[in-house]
Each structure stands twice: as C-alpha cells, then as structure tokens.
Assembly symmetry: C2
Homo-oligomer: 615 residues x 2
C-alpha cells in the first residue's frame, strides 16, 4: 500500500525531471534513501527562468540573439520532433531528446488512477491527513505566540512588504471593473473619432461603435458595464464567460481586451501597463497575467510577441503565462482545423521554430524570455465521453467534432513542453512551467493527470474529494494557486473553500485573484484577496506570510529574483532555506513544516525498505 | 398584544420628539391614523444639523457668534437645568424646557421590558420576522433582474460613486495600521529631537521615548506595532483595548493618538487630517470619527475644541461624534469624581455654557457646529449588579465605587441631550443625535433603553436574540450601524453576523468600520468592509446601494448634504423619497420596502382600531 504511494511519487519525479520542472527536494531525498541511493544537489534538475534585464538594459533588445540552427521540425503523433536536417527527417532520425511515450504515460496514469480508488490506501491517506490537521492545531496552540514573537523581532519586514505574486490572473480581466470603466471613458474623450474596429468590411470609429450600442460612454457605470460576477454566475461558467463582454457587447471586448485587433491591441496594452504601473508602485506585488494562444492559426505567436514588443509591455513586476483554451471542438466545427494535431502544431511549432531559428523570429525570441509557462484552461465541469488511454486516437487521427478529454489535452501539452524545454536547455535558453487549471470542477482524474505533468496547478478544489491525491500533493509539495473569491462566485462558497485546511495540513498553497475585473471591489485586488482570507479564516501573520512565500516559490520568477525575495538559500529545505528577514515566516513554522513532511515521508521509506528486506 | 407594540412605538415617538431625534415618518403616519388623527408634515419634529460652510467661507470663523445670554445653569438630579437668572435659581423656577421625568421613563421602560418577555407577543413578532425574510426572498427571485435593469439604466451612477458614510468609527483608530506605522516613521525622521512627552516631571524627546522602549522606529513593522486584532481578541475586550497602545506602549498612544498631550495633540491631528484628505480624494466617502470626552474634568471640552480649531480639523467629508466611555468606576476609585453627577456635570455643563454664553466659549461654539452627536461606549458584556428603576439613587447620591448600569447611563445622557437640544433649537443652534453602542454584547435590556432614547445605535447584534425588539426596531426603522469585521474579531463570527438577515427583513442597517487600525488590511477600509460583505453574502448592487443610502440617512450630515446626496425629497416615504440618479437604489426596491412596512404597520393599526371599537 505504502509502496504504491512511493511509486506515485517516483512517477511524478520522473515526469518532472524530464520536463525540467521542480520536484520537492525533501521528497527526492527520501525517495533516494529508500532506494539506498545518495541524493546529491548535482542530480537536481531545475528550471531556467530568464532574469529580468538589469536597470539600464533594454528589455526588448534584439542584439545578441543566437544564430539560426536551421534544424528541421516535424510534428509526429502530436509532438514536435527536432531533426538536424532534412536528411535526418527522411531517415526518421530525430535529435537525441527525450520524447515522451504515450504507452508508458498511460500505464503510469492508470497506476495512480487505480491507487486513488484503493480502499486501504484511501483509509491510510485519510488518517494521515486528519493527523496533519490535528498536529497543526496543536502546533498552533503551543507555538503561536512564539512565532509571533519571532516575527515581531524582525526589523523592517511585515506582511505589507513581503513579496507576493498573483500566481493566477487572466490578463483580459486583470484590471478592476472600475479601472476598465474609467479607462473606456478616458479613451473616448480623446479617441472618439479613431477607427477601432472593422466589421463586415466596414470601418468604425469608437463613436460609431458606442452609437450602434446606443450608449454614451460618459453615462456608463459599473452596473451598465456589467462585467462583475454575482449570484447569477454560480455554477454557470457560460454566464461567467459572457461577463468578459463589457455592456454585453463582444465589440467592446474586441476593442479593449484583445491583443490582435484592428488597433493592434493598443488599448489592451495601455490598460495592462496601467496595472503594471500600480504593481510597480506597490513594489512588493507581482503578477503573472495569462494571455491566450488559441491554436487557430500558426500566426498567433508572431502577432502576440509583436504586440508585446511594440507596446513595450515588459515590467519588472510582471511575467507572462500563456493560456490555451480547450476549445478544439469549436475550431473543428468552424473548420478552422482539420484535426487536433493541427491545433497542437499551431500552438507549439512556432515556439520550436523561434527556439531553433531565433533570428527569424526575433520578437518571439525576446517575448519568450518573460514567459513563465503554459496553462490549459476551460470549464472543467464539461463532461467528455472519451476515456484517454494508449488506445486513444493519435492527434492526427483525432478528426471527430468532439473535444478530446482533459487528460488528452494535458498529456499532449506536457509532451511538447517537455521536448521544448529539453531543446531550450540544450541551447541555454529559458524553460517553461506547465501550470494548468485543474480541480476547479469536473472529474477527479484531472488531478491525476496534473500530478504527473504539471509543475503546479490552479484551484485544486477537488483535492477535497480524494484523500489519496490530496496526500500525494502534500508529499510532493505540488504548489496550488487558489482563488477563493473566484470560487465563491463560480463553484464553491467561501466558507466551504478548502484553502485554510490545505494550508494547515501543509500543502503548498498560494492566493491569487483569477479575475479582478469580475470578482474584486477595491483598487488592490490581491490585497483584497489576502485581506478577506485573513479576516474570514483568522489567519495569523505567519500564515499569510507563508502563503506569500509559497506564491514566490511557485511563480515563474527567475532564480535571481527568488534569491532576492526569499533569501540566498531559498532552495534548501526547512528553516535553513528561509530568510526570515525577507519572508517574515517564522523559523519555528519552517521547522514544523519540514519535520512534519520528513516524518510523513519516513513512514513510506521505512515501509518500502522493510518490504525490500523481506523480499 | 398588538396594542403593546403600538404603545411601544408611541413611547419611542414621544422620546424621539422630545429630543429632536428623527422618528420614521411612515410609522408616525400609521400611529396617527390609529388614533384617528391627521398626520401633517408640520407636526414633524426634526433635528437641525449645521451645514458645512460654503466654499471660501472660513469654517473656524469666530465672527457672528451670538451674544451671551447669561442664563444660570444648575445640575439637579444629574440633569442640567436652565434658569433665566440667579433669582430664578433661588426660586427654583427653571426656564420652560421639557425636563424628562425619571419616574415616567422608568414606567415606559418597564412596559417595553415586560412586553419583550410576553409569550404571545414573541410568537407574533417571530412569525412576522420570518414572514419578512421569506417575502424578501420571493421579492428577490421575482424582481432581481428588474432591479438590476433599473440600475443599469441610471447614467453615471454606480456603487462606486454613491455616497457612503462610515457611521461608526473611532477617531483613535481611524487610520490603518500601515498608515500609523508610516506616520510614526515619517515623523521620527523630522522630529526625533522634539520634546513630546512629560513623564514624572521629566521632558522627553521622541528619540528618548523610543530609546527607552528599546526600539528603532526605522525597524518598526506592523508586527511589532501590534495594533491589529486577531484570534486573541475574540471575547477579550480587555486585550482588544490594549491594542490601542502601539508596540504595547501607552506612551506612544499618548503621543500619537491623544488630543490633549504635551504637544497639544499635534500628531493625532496631523494623522486625522491625512485620513480626511483620503476621504476628500475619494469624494464619495464620508466618516464621523468618534472623539472621547471622559467627564473627568470640566476642562475637557475647551481643550478638545481648541485642538480642533488650532489644528484646523474641519473637513467637508467628516463630522464628529463624541463618545463617553462608561468608566465612572475608574474615576471614582481614583477619586477624580465624588459621585456620578459630577461626571455628568463635567460632560454636559460645558455644553450648556457654550450654548447660552457662546462669546465666552468661542472655540467650543464653533466646534459644536460639526458635532453630530453622542455615543456611550464600553464593553457591554460587563455585568452590573444594580437594576435601574425609579428607586435608583439619583446621580448626586450615586457615590458607591460601582459603575451604574447601562440603562442608567443611557437615561442620564439622553436627559441632558434632550434638554440641551431643546435649548439649542430655541436659540437656533444645531441639535445632537444620541447614537450609543448598543447590543454588541451583554443584556438585552440595553436594546430596550436605546429603543426609547437613541436616534440610532451601533452594532445591535443582540436583536438576534429578541424577536420582539427586532420587530420593534423594524417597525420604527431605528437605524443600526453594523461592523461585521469588528464583530468577527471580538464577539461574533462573520458567517453568524445577522447583518444580511436584518437587511433582507428591511431593518435600516448601514456598514461601518469601527476601528480600521485594528481590523482592516487595505488602504480603503470602508470599501474593504463593503467588499467583504458583498462577496461573502453575495449582495446585489441594489443591496449595497441600499446600505449606503441608509448610512447617509442615519448620519449626522446636514439636511443640505442629504438633499444633495440622496435627492431633494429624501424625507418622503417610499420611492417618492428616492432619487435613483443619486442613490442607485432601484425604485422597485424602495416600493417593496415601503409597501412591506405599511403592510406590517396596518396590522397593528387595524388591531388597535378594532379594539377601540369593541370597547
């Protein structure tokens, strides 16, 4: 039974290493010890994130871009393969990169799937999780004042000036409703006569657009703007999605919240720069806004990176995530793509191209420096009839109008990111994290797929429903970006949100806003998110600072930034890895977390070892 | 049974009128109709609040102060009596003002007290309240979208730009913890060598103070400042009170949060002006900070008003409340006062003096223009052995070390405010509201006393426990300033707070912060309070705008301001009294509230009338 947990951890470690994603060091050490191997720092496989350019350096500089390698690229079974040259393609001799194997993956997946349904394992994990809860409760009662005393003695550092990263925020909703409203009104004052839209061949000015909508921008209010979620969006993801349309008009979304429109995303860039400015002013708040790549056409990347460069969107307080909506079915029904492989190709091939031939894709090459990673996004509660297995059709054969299931998406995204990361690492370029939406709703299997493939996940609410998975996410310290205010409007009442419980047990959770435009009221959405959690769950300063620390760890900030924000030894385990003068997390807390995790892991190691002896 | 409710309303009406406090117009109309009398607008007794000076006018101008009247003043039975001259005093011939009569008051009080314990009345009220809840639920289901549609069609007005008054906020905690911290650090930079404190005859500079505390202000954090409430303050009012001492040091409270100290309240004035500046910037937010008058000495008023005038503390977005802590027992034990009457005299006599001889008390005369009213404040959960009745010792005879009970305080404060308001009305001066803390904890009798004596109350949580009182507060539309975040840290978990339920039933509730320093996290505490309520209780825009409207109604803002903020007919009943273009409250909602209240009142009127017929 414990051997199964052990095996699940080994599986996650394998896929993490393959893709240059982080795997918890403590856990790795215990895994090695149970294999009677020595763990060493050199064996650790770490991601590579581009540091922000230094003061005075041009973040958009196109100098020093590496030479083209002119490798050949070809998609096979939905995964981009890299070849030295055309000959190698003909001979089917791809470069020596680890290409994932669907069959092995399917077997690994089914192992974990079987395990989460196993009775004794469920009981064991359930009991361990209860124990972790009670243990933390005791820790709190005994050490709360001591933790507070530690924090009080830290000069010049408190909750307000520890670094916090908004680890999950959609760019198209990263401004508050009031901000968007003011922006629209301000823009209208100067730009009423600007042509902003081309519809059915007809060019329209901003004034004409509003005239057609029968609205005067001066009279607009947050009520008529109508982008805020409310009671009506609960369990109605469809209604929620339509909230992205200001005044219910997709034209306004097109004009103000898109990167690729008639005005080349000018307004959207401006408003994001205002958000970035606020973050820079706050100094201690960072965000990783998620921009969409759809996979409709191969040009999306060039267009997006040009938008980024032309509008000079770099900010030291921002990095970027790319979200891929799981809407193959829509593109297929509109005949935009012939099969699923084409969608994958549109998403990933340009990245490989920019990687091997950067001189041909200078903008994309530069933009990718500031991209943390990828997200897979859509309503998880949509059911799929297809069951992912190694007998599933290959992406090239996926020609039905139905959408592939969640796990199918995840495997193929992971596979491409994995190859890409290996290629980029080889070339000394930055790597990407895979950070899908997962466990917000829908089947528990989503969380199994993500356990194998993802650096960290967003939401994770459904871990509530599976003690085995929850315990595995704990043991492997898989980071979870949680957005309780978003959940409160969409899937789960605030009081039922498991964040507090997860935090207490020791899961690696962070707080994020998801969509300030739809959910938040104040000018500081991330602070609002923290404030409400702190108030409602009576979190201590140490609790909220622990969450903030987790958010930095989990983010795509560079190693240099993390050293600066968390302390030079941030990669070390336990209190040693914590610089209280920067994180404001008590060493007592760090020690507790570390001891507790070691204790849980040691049970598994001991069980595996004794089993090995008796064999 | 219904006759008792009727009588209770008549009693409240009587005491409201006597003291120039508002009484709900709809209720008054029904009361008249059941007495077969005609209600007319002229009969209405309304408070008089000084309007803010117009632009360009000097708010501190000492010109046009009325002449002295040289009336004689004398305290009798704890109530200030006004005499034309010394002869009238000798002849015991006070001016013709309504002096309240303890005996009548005690009888009225006991009537309501008996009623709230009456079984059938309890059942009736309980059922009516349940009905109000269910009715609102139906209203919401049927009319929610129609309300929203109304709001969407209102140009230029939304939740962000409707007026909101923070109706309950203590001046000494009206800044956020971060604001106080920054202020202390900023001050230290320029003022380290300023003498700020005299302790045991020794003068100390700011540097010396911090040196003695063994703290470097530069290193201070919100953690070491330690003014925030948390888990440890729940049901511990004592611990909460000590949070007013930054770094746990009463010296810092003395230096930074007092009006009457070695530096004449300079720092406290500055920080309050910064808070006022933020409110003015926000434009739509107002506050009524509560300043303390203790009753230790008769000089407190002069000192406080000099502080106000010298530091030029007037702001168009602020009015002032005077809070009187119920701590006679402390002053008595320190031999600062010989009996309770002396404390009352110290509190009220200076006000009467400034009223009749304004030329002798110019500063106080000017300050009083901006004072909304009075508050009675302390931990209500403290038990008192004494039972207030007409046999209770007169204030002059209250010489024991024990503190008088809550009701005793309330009656004597009300009595003095009542006489004072009548005197001031006669002289064309502004009147005061009585707005005590009530029903935050402790005995249910507090809410009975306040029902008779108070214009509106703060907290009112205990109305949960008495259906009869809750129904009476509904019928009389007694405004209640609620602070759920404060309650959450002190007396009642957020999820159990009755605000939402009260609002739905139609009680007149507003949202207030109580103590931003102790409870709030963001830079906009009042918006944080609204945001959390809106998020957690899924309040609609119409709901929050109704709360904001209630806050203006309940506040001590002048008639002119209220006309401006709510609409010219704001005193009228129902939708007629609502200007949706200013309040953003749907007329459908207003009509629902009005019809519902009329319906409830009509039952009582019908019952009383039919009883009268059958007699």
């Amino acid at each position: 039974m414990l051997k199964n947990l052990f095996k699940a951890l080994l599986i996650r470690e394998k896929y993490s290493k393959l893709a240059y994603q982080r795997f918890c060091r403590t856990t790795a050490q215990f895994l090695r010890s149970s294999q009677n191997m020595r763990w060493s720092e050199e064996d650790e496989v770490l991601p590579d994130m581009c540091p922000h350019p230094k003061d005075g350096e041009d973040p958009y500089s196109m100098e020093n871009i590496p030479e083209n390698l002119n490798y050949e690229l070809k998609m096979k079974d939905g995964i981009v393969h890299v070849y030295d040259n055309a000959e190698a393609v003909r001979e089917n001799r791809p470069r020596d990169l680890p290409y994932p194997d669907l069959e092995t993956f399917a077997i690994d997946l089914s192992h974990v799937l079987a395990m989460i349904a196993d009775g004794p394992t469920k009981t064991y994990c359930h009991r361990r999780l209860n124990f972790l809860s009670s243990k933390f409760y005791l820790h709190e009662m005994l050490n709360e004042m001591a933790e507070l005393k530690e924090l009080k003695s830290v000069p010049h550092r408190d909750f307000y000036n520890v670094r916090k990263v908004d680890t999950h925020i959609h760019a198209a909703a990263c401004m508050s409703q009031k901000h968007l409203l003011t922006f629209i009104q301000k823009t209208y004052k100067t730009d009423a006569d600007r042509v902003v839209l081309e519809k059915a061949g007809q060019k329209m000015t901003l004034q004409q657009v509003f005239h057609n909508l029968n609205k005067d921008p001066y009279d607009l209010t947050v009520d008529s703007l109508d982008v805020h979620a409310g009671r009506h969006t609960f369990h109605r993801f469809d209604k929620f999605n339509s909230k992205y349309n200001p005044v219910g008009a997709s034209e306004l979304r097109e004009i103000f919240l898109k990167t690729d429109n008639f005005i080349n995303g000018d307004y959207f860039a401006r408003i994001i720069k205002e958000v970035a400015h606020d973050l820079e002013e706050s100094k201690y708040q960072h965000a990783e806004p998620r921009l969409s790549i759809y996979g409709r056409s191969p040009d999306e990347w060039d267009s997006l990176s040009k938008w980024f460069i032309n509008h000079k969107l770099h900010s030291p307080n921002m990095r970027w995530m790319i979200q891929v909506p799981r809407i193959y079915d829509i593109f297929k029904s509109k005949k935009l793509v012939p099969n699923f492989a084409k969608m994958l190709e549109n998403i990933f091939l340009p990245l490989f191209e920019a990687t091997v031939n950067p001189q041909k894709h200078k903008e994309l090459h530069v933009f990718l420096k500031y991209v943390s990673g990828f997200d897979s996004v859509d309503d998880e509660s949509k059911h799929s009839d297809h069951m992912f297995s190694f007998r599933s059709p290959k992406p090239e054969q996926w020609t039905t109008d139905d959408n592939p299931p969640y796990s199918y998406y995840l495997f193929h995204m992971y596979a491409n990111i994995m190859v890409l990361n290996n290629l980029r690492k080889e070339l000394g370029l930055s790597t990407f994290q895979f950070r899908p939406h997962c466990g917000e709703a829908g089947s528990i299997t989503h969380l199994v797929s993500a356990f194998l493939t993802s650096d960290n996940i967003s939401h994770g609410l459904n871990l509530k429903k599976s003690p085995v998975l929850q315990y595995l996410y704990y043991l492997a310290q898989v980071p979870i970006a949680m957005s309780p205010l978003s959940n409160n409007s969409l899937f789960l009442e605030y009081s039922k949100n498991p964040l507090r419980e997860f935090l207490h047990k020791g899961l690696c959770v962070s707080l994020s806003t998801d969509d300030p435009m739809q959910f938040h009221y104040t000018k500081e959405p991330l602070m609002e998110e923290y404030a409400i959690a702190a108030q409602l769950w009576k979190l201590s300063t140490c609790d909220v600072c622990e969450i903030a620390r987790n958010s930095v760890l989990q983010s795509g900030l560079s190693h240099q930034d993390k050293r600066h924000f968390l302390g030079v030894s941030y990669q070390k385990d336990g209190p040693e890895g914590n610089d209280i003068r920067r994180t404001n997390v008590a060493q007592i807390r760090m020690a507790y977390r570390h001891e507790t995790l070691c204790n849980e892991l040691s049970f598994i190691v001991d069980a595996v070892k004794s089993e090995a002896l008796s064999e």
